[in-house]
């Protein structure tokens, strides 16, 4: 009986305040979409890190005839220097950090270069001896790059030690920035949503002050009086959260459809990962609406 009564009250409240309820739904929808987008960008970053960090290598580029750096003052790398570097990589002090390494000769480097830029006229102006030979190292822990760099950078015959990870890092910094911006917009929108919910609940409490006054006088409990208002706000916010989740799901569909055909090497987050974000959004929307309603009622609905 009491449940049916409370449900009836919620229904009449939502109907009476329809335009405000719709605006609450839309504002929570937009704000939670931004929250979700920020979260999913982070997921995308983690996914790409997991995918790429297994593949990226540390490269020790060896001097060639045209090298200009200080370490190459004595000209191109000699066979002896090269063997020496190979032995260092095999030594236990270094070996504990790397899982394996290959040597890439100038000929191989030129072949890779031609493959990579097969459509570009630059291939015609590059010759084999302009490209450096290199050791390609797969790290056990990519974070330990610094050790390799320190050990080899000053060795004779080494032009430079480069970490491909640093190139990726730049992409991730950009993506991180985007997710921070999304989060910032989300925070502003959430403030809007909370204020709007507060106003809506206030209006709702005002338009039903006759009912609540009578409920108070005949001894209705605080729960029975306040619950319809609180649930009104929570229901609107949860609908907004569901819309936001739906939107994010559509975005992942697009990522895995059109976009994954264009960027074959990029691992996109799957639609299933929306299932992780959605409950968070719903809990966040519902929770914020509930707290905002409760605080508003404490002020505007005497019990």
């Amino acid at each position: 009986m009491r449940l049916a009564f409370i449900l009836g009250e919620i229904g009449s409240g939502l109907r009476r305040n329809l335009s405000m309820v719709v605006s609450v739904i839309l504002v929570t929808f937009v704000s939670l979409t931004f929250v979700g987008a920020a979260g999913m960008l982070q997921m995308q970053i983690n996914q790409m890190k997991g995918y790429w960090y297994d593949k990226v290598q540390v490269a020790i580029f060896l001097c060639n005839e045209s090298s200009t750096s200080a370490g190459c003052a004595s000209g191109a790398v000699t066979d002896e220097q090269r063997e020496n570097l190979g032995k260092m990589l095999e030594s236990p002090a270094v070996k504990q950090y790397i899982s394996d390494f290959q040597f890439e000769s100038q000929a191989e480097a030129f072949q890779h270069f031609k493959d990579q830029f097969s459509n570009s006229p630059i291939v015609d102006s590059v010759t084999q001896d302009q490209l450096p030979a290199s050791f390609r190292i797969n790290m056990k822990d990519p974070e330990k790059y610094q050790i390799i760099s320190e050990t080899f950078a000053s060795q004779p015959g080494v032009e430079t030690v480069s970490d491909q990870r640093q190139v990726l890092e730049r992409i991730f910094v950009w993506m991180n920035g985007a997710s921070v911006v999304a989060m910032g917009i989300a925070v502003v929108m959430i403030v809007c949503a909370v204020l709007l919910i507060t106003t809506t609940i206030r209006l709702s409490a005002f338009s039903r002050r006759r009912e609540t006054g009578i409920m108070r006088l005949v001894g209705a409990s605080k729960t029975v009086i306040q619950l319809p208002f609180i649930l009104e706000g929570v229901i609107a916010a949860v609908i907004g959260a569901l819309l936001a989740s739906g939107t994010l799901w559509l975005v992942t569909l697009w990522l895995n459809g059109d976009l994954s055909r264009q960027f074959l090497n990029t691992p996109f987050i799957s639609s299933a990962q929306v299932l992780v974000v959605a409950p968070v959004l719903i809990a966040l929307g519902g929770g914020l609406a509930g707290i905002a309603s409760l605080l508003t009622l404490r002020r505007y609905l005497k019990v």
Partner: protein
């Protein structure tokens, strides 16, 4: 049933108190008129009984319980034992007569079958048989007030507070309402009615408590609306006086 012990209520520390050291007892089953000019403290008196306000000092006892000791989550239980009727009826305009009365039972969780059984009974008591389906705007003022009374007593409270229930009604309709209140009082409910209506007070001949500037200036049994000699200290004795004594007293004849 209701006992005020040296109750003072101050709203604004710079103004005089709304109630000033009021001590008063209203017995179970009594019918009491609360008279006095606007601002004399009648409404404050009623609000303190409902624990809508807290007394600045002194104690208010309702049904033997000091209301100051009732925790906020148990205030609803206190209010279930008290029915309230107002001058402006306060019906819900979009609900019909039955639904208006049933509302008071729904919100405290009474089952549908009990509501279906009780509401028609109460409507019969207040003389609104067969008008269950009417909307408030289709009723006369007197009928609307009857609905309000039905709503106030449908949960069988021990106390009925009426704040100028006849203030918006013509004299004949008012007498009808008084008949309903009297009937409810006969059934054992303690009734406290704040009023300006001298005709009604004079007609009913019930206990009259007069407030002036927050002080009880008169408390007489079977009294009239006004008294020639307001006696404060002896008023408690007068309440217990017999009819003959009262007839001889100058205040009773006026």
């Amino acid at each position: 049933m209701i006992r005020f012990e040296n109750v003072t209520k101050v709203y604004d520390p710079n103004a005089r108190p709304a109630l000033d050291d009021v001590s008063l007892e209203i017995e179970r089953g009594e019918f009491t008129f609360l008279v006095g000019a606007s601002g004399s403290g009648k409404s404050t008196f009623l609000r303190l009984i409902l624990k809508e306000d807290r007394a600045t000092s002194g104690s208010v006892y309702v049904a033997g319980q000091n209301v100051a000791n009732i925790s906020s989550w148990r205030v609803p239980r206190l209010r279930r034992g008290i029915g309230v009727v107002f001058q402006d009826f306060r019906l819900l305009p979009q609900k019909n007569v039955f639904a208006n009365v049933a509302f008071a039972m729904q919100v405290i969780g009474k089952s549908r079958s009990i509501i279906r059984e009780t509401v028609p009974e109460v409507l019969k008591t207040v003389g609104l048989e067969g008008k269950e389906k009417r909307m408030p705007h289709e009723l006369s003022g007197g009928e609307q007030q009857r609905v309000a009374i039905a709503r106030a007593v449908v949960n069988r409270p021990g106390i009925l507070l009426a704040d100028e229930p006849t203030g918006n009604l013509d004299p004949i309709t008012s007498m009808g309402i008084m008949g309903v209140l009297d009937k409810i009082n006969q059934n054992g409910t303690t009734v406290v009615m704040a009023t300006h209506d001298d005709d009604i007070v004079n007609e009913m001949r019930k206990r009259v408590v007069e407030l002036r500037n927050g002080v009880v200036v008169r408390d007489e049994a079977k009294a009239l609306y006004t008294s020639m000699i307001p006696v404060v200290g002896e008023s408690r004795l007068l309440k217990d006086a017999s009819d003959e004594e009262l007839d001889r007293a100058p205040g009773g004849q006026q």
